[in-house]
């Protein structure tokens, strides 16, 4: 059972999936160890700041159209409210919606609260938030402070539930609980599954798409309409009412295995909504697999085959043309595991050689108990067995890798990770949007983005000539896995 509705909180990825943040080896070795159960996490005796699961949880929840966010924390944790302040409106405007309302508040816990607790204030803040904004649900986020001092959020929820007529969902995303920030997605989805989603009353023709910001909304809607289905892009820009009925959908599919696992498998376990297990829709094979597997679930295999053949005819010749210009390029990829292994496959489709890879964490399995498809596919089909580190966004490790691997180009996705390759004089392309390599057209655009990056290196070279790296030479004379403690299991 993925989602134990009896549990207040989800279990972290480390405990639930045996996910790790420390590994140094190769693609095939990692695959072997993951499959035969010998993979061990390795701790680091030095680390740089990474990020926390609360940021992940609230950065997605706060995009729900009519829900309010309350962070039971000191002021700093609510900084996510600053980041999403206008983004929610901008995203809504982009898709022509005019119903975005923002509500994101914080209990501003202070020193006194750490001694006496602050559940009374939290209760008042929940009631006041309801009075002010009349949201259709309230998400209350735990924090490191509320967790360490042992605030009883469940009692607060029980108390207010009798007073206000909307669901109050608790999000257990204390920063210290997990090193894998993607656990924050699970925390958010646990809250949605246990507090928002209702049992199905009927079946609908909606396909749940678990994604971030729905940039390919137009294309996907067109495709799905061809087969008589309606996509519902989760969870940004959705309403609580829509979310409450995702149990009625015909299927769930995701653009990111890391993101989708908990909700997709949870809906499948709890309500029998099939979760499509496939590669993600990056590049040719990913797009084929993503739609074909969906087709199988919906019984639309033939229609999808015809659609794919038609699209291939349009784009494959153009892809072949640009591929010739990319020949011989060597790349390093540094991303979360969901996007990394899909991007790597797409790069190999373009004939680009992966010479080193870094994943921020690694899930040896998803919530269905199976090894992630994109990783499994890459391990079996990659023309070379390249070195691979699981490096928890550790900049020192990443820079070390880039400096020694000297690729022609670096592919990043995470905030703050792109510029460091540039500082080394390596052109870097940030795949900031999840749909940057979506399908054949996406792959074609991606190929030209790569070509543009390696053709005009001026920005990269101008910068790299004038900056110094913040590391001592000592570091570069060590192995890049110098700080990994050997053979230590984290107990998971």
């Amino acid at each position: 059972m993925v989602v134990n509705t009896k549990l207040h909180a989800h279990e972290t990825r480390e405990n639930r999936l045996g996910s790790i943040t420390g590994y140094s080896g190769t693609l095939k070795d990692l695959h072997h160890k993951a499959c035969c159960g010998t993979l061990q996490d390795k701790e680091r005796c030095f680390s740089q700041a990474s990020t926390c699961n609360a940021a992940c949880a609230f950065s997605i929840l706060s995009f729900i159209v009519d829900a309010a966010m309350i962070q039971h924390s000191p002021s700093g944790c609510a900084v996510t409210a600053m980041q999403v302040s206008n983004s929610k409106d901008q995203l809504a405007a982009k898709i022509g919606l005019n119903h975005s309302k923002s509500c994101y508040v914080c209990t501003d816990m202070d020193e006194t609260d750490t001694i006496y607790g602050a559940t009374e204030n939290l209760k008042e803040v929940i009631l006041e938030t309801y009075r002010r904004y009349r949201p259709n649900a309230i998400f209350v986020g735990a924090s490191c402070v509320s967790g360490v001092i042992g605030e009883d959020l469940e009692s607060v929820r029980s108390e207010v539930s009798g007073i206000i007529p909307i669901p109050v969902a608790l999000v257990y995303c204390e920063g210290f609980k997990t090193k894998i920030w993607a656990s924050g997605f699970d925390a958010a989805f646990h809250a949605i599954l246990t507090s928002i989603v209702k049992p199905p009353e009927k079946k609908s023709n909606i396909i749940n798409i678990i994604n971030f910001y729905g940039s390919a909304r137009k294309e996907i809607t067109e495709i799905f309409h061809e087969f008589g289905y309606e996509p519902l892009f989760l969870i940004s820009n959705t309403t609580i009412e829509q979310l409450s009925r995702i149990s009625e959908s015909a299927a769930t599919i995701s653009t990111c295995g890391t993101l989708g696992s908990y909700l997709g498998n949870g809906l499948s376990d709890l309500y029998g909504v099939p979760y499509v297990v496939s590669l993600q829709p990056h590049g040719i094979e990913g797009f084929d697999c993503w739609l074909s597997e969906l087709g199988k679930v919906l019984g639309k295999e033939e229609e999808i085959k015809t659609y794919l053949a038609r699209e291939k005819e349009k784009y494959l010749p153009k892809i072949e043309e640009v591929k010739r210009k990319l020949k011989g390029l060597k790349a390093v990829v540094g991303m979360g595991p969901g996007f990394n292994f899909n991007t790597s496959r797409a790069l190999q489709e373009l004939g680009i050689e992966i010479v080193y890879s870094a994943a921020w964490h690694f899930d040896r399995q998803y919530d269905d108990g199976k090894i992630p498809s994109a990783f499994d596919h890459l391990a079996h089909n990659s023309p070379n067995d390249f070195p691979l580190n699981v490096c928890d966004l550790q900049n020192h490790e990443m820079i070390h890798i880039l400096k020694s691997a000297k690729p022609d180009i670096f592919f990043s996705r995470h905030t703050g990770s792109t510029v460091w390759a540039m500082k080394l004089g390596i052109p870097a392309l940030c795949l900031y949007d999840e749909y940057d390599i979506f399908g054949y057209k996406g792959l074609l655009n991606f190929a030209y983005s790569i070509l543009d990056k390696v053709t005009n290196r001026s920005f990269t070279e101008n910068l790299s000539r004038r900056v110094k790296l913040p590391y001592n030479d000592w570091w570069f004379s060590q192995n890049n896995n110098h700080f990994l403690k050997s053979g230590e299991d984290n107990g998971s």
């Binding site: 030095f46 680390s47 740089q48 700041a49 990474s50 990020t51 926390c52 699961n53 940021a55 924390s73 000191p74 002021s75 700093g76 944790c77 609510a78 900084v79 996510t80 409210a81 600053m82 980041q83 302040s85 206008n86 409106d89 509500c103 994101y104 508040v105 914080c106 209990t107 501003d108 202070d110 609260d113 750490t114 009374e120 204030n121 803040v125 006041e128 002010r132 924090s143 490191c144 402070v145 360490v148 001092i149 920063g175 210290f176 609980k177 090193k179 900049n395 905030t415 703050g416 990770s417 510029v419 460091w420 900056v467 110094k468 790296l469 913040p470 590391y471 001592n472 000592w474 570091w475």
Partner: protein, 439 residues
């Protein structure tokens, strides 16, 4: 009980002052905190203006506290992190900053840091647990730690004639911090003084080392940094000049130069010459564009600011004393300590023509917006604040400019509203919004 709620956060916790450390070239924050604190705080404060300098949050050594350190204590982990940071990172000053969890579980950070006494690169510490205060208080605590843990240990050197330390703008939290500091430097340099500042490009440990040699400290801020200049006076006997208004435009910049010139004993004729030259240039532009300032359908006559104490005061002074507008209520959102509230109120009672304005200290954006909605501005209001005021201004068919965090939707590299030039910049930006509407 009094409801404690931040609605629309406009400041962050004390640990947010890590950006103050990062603002010093080659100074390295070392965090004894959770894994997400640095990335989140930086994303919120520095976010839309970029944060990928020599040191950035991805470079900060951090203990990335997990349950293990909470149960068993994290002092060992901190020691190991500092040791490796010193070995690996090419920095001049390492500043250990603690977060909420490590302080609650009682890690003795002072003790751990003391074991690095005498290391090749100085290591100091500041307790910046998020629940202890705001990022502005954190900023003061960091400067205090630099004074009391680093500077006091340096051998004394003589005063340098004309050298002035400038304090005030807070790195990152003031989106215009670099430009503002540079413009303040520029202004005092023009009257023959030598500025010494520790933030921004090419300012680092050497500038810190020179702090005790200054003839005086110049604090340009209503309250942030006051404890620091007092501390410098106490320890090094350096007098300070507290000029509470960040000078924007001709009126305030002129007054600023006069006050600083007098305090520094500069020949008044030199100061007057500088002022005359600037005012002549400034009013060339004002004269040339006054038709546009005055002849349009949409510019406001009354305004409110929703911002930090520094910017609320600076912008109000400019709009009233320089530009002839009338202030409605000003909302101060950076949570200044209560001991300063009365003094701050006084600052807002001292405009030309005995104009004064009410101020409200609030961290509750909802209440602020309700208050603005209840106010009759007798025309379109001008609201100067953060991105949170954008929709409000649209709703009220007013004019709007975001100048404080979260600022968003504009990029600031080194722009500044300080000085004569800064006043012109501010008018450009206000009228760029005015002209988006039918005139």
């Amino acid at each position: 009980m009094v409801l404690k709620i931040i609605d629309q956060p406009r400041y962050v916790c004390a640990l947010g002052a890590m950006q103050t450390v990062q603002g010093i070239c080659r100074a390295v924050p070392v965090l004894h905190a959770g894994p997400g604190c640095a990335a989140k705080l930086a994303g919120g404060i520095a976010g839309s203006n970029g944060d990928s300098g020599y040191i950035s949050p991805q470079i900060y050594p951090c203990t990335n506290i997990t349950e293990n350190e909470i149960v068993f204590g994290g002092e060992g982990r901190l020691k190991e992190t500092i040791e490796n940071a010193l070995r690996m990172i090419d920095g001049d000053l390492f500043v250990v900053l603690s977060g909420c969890t490590t302080e609650i579980v009682g890690d003795d950070i002072a003790q751990v840091v003391s074991s690095f006494e005498g290391s090749e690169k100085p290591v100091i510490y500041v307790e910046t647990a998020g629940f202890k205060g705001t990022n502005l208080q954190g900023h003061e605590w960091i400067v205090d730690a630099i004074i009391t843990q680093y500077l006091v240990k340096k051998p004394g050197k003589g005063r340098i004639k004309g050298l002035v330390n400038i304090w005030g703008p807070v790195p990152s939290f003031d989106p215009f911090w670099i430009g503002n500091i540079r413009e303040l430097e520029h202004l005092i340099r023009e009257i023959g003084l030598t500025p010494n500042t520790i933030f921004g490009e090419n300012r680092g440990i050497e500038e810190i080392d020179r702090i005790p040699q200054a003839e005086f400290n110049l604090l340009v801020s209503p309250w942030v940094g006051l404890s620091n200049v007092k501390k410098l006076e106490e320890i090094f006997g350096t007098p300070y000049l507290h000029y509470p208004v960040l000078p924007i435009g001709a009126y305030e910049s002129t007054r600023f130069l006069q006050v600083v010139g007098k305090f520094a004993g500069i020949d008044p004729s030199l100061v007057t010459a500088v002022i005359d030259r600037h005012e002549k240039e400034y009013y060339y532009y004002i004269e040339r564009t006054s038709d546009v300032f005055l002849e349009n359908r949409t510019m406001s006559r009354r305004f409110s600011t929703v911002t930090s104490t520094t910017d609320a005061l600076a912008v109000s002074r400019f709009l009233v004393n320089d530009f002839g507008l009338i202030p409605a209520t000003q909302f101060i959102t950076d949570k200044p300590p209560e001991e300063y509230h009365e003094t701050i109120r006084q600052y807002f009672r001292d405009f030309t023509y005995r104009i004064s304005t009410d101020i409200v200290f609030s961290r509750d954006g909802y209440e602020i917006h309700e208050e603005i909605r209840r106010t009759d501005y007798h025309g379109a209001p001008l609201i100067i604040g953060s991105i949170f005021e954008k929709k409000l201004a649209e709703e009220l068919q007013g004019n709007f400019l975001a100048i404080s965090v979260p600022i968003k939707e504009r990029l600031i590299l080194n722009s500044s509203y300080v000085g004569y030039q800064g006043g012109l910049r501010l008018l450009e930006d206000i009228y760029s919004y005015v002209f988006k509407q039918f005139n």
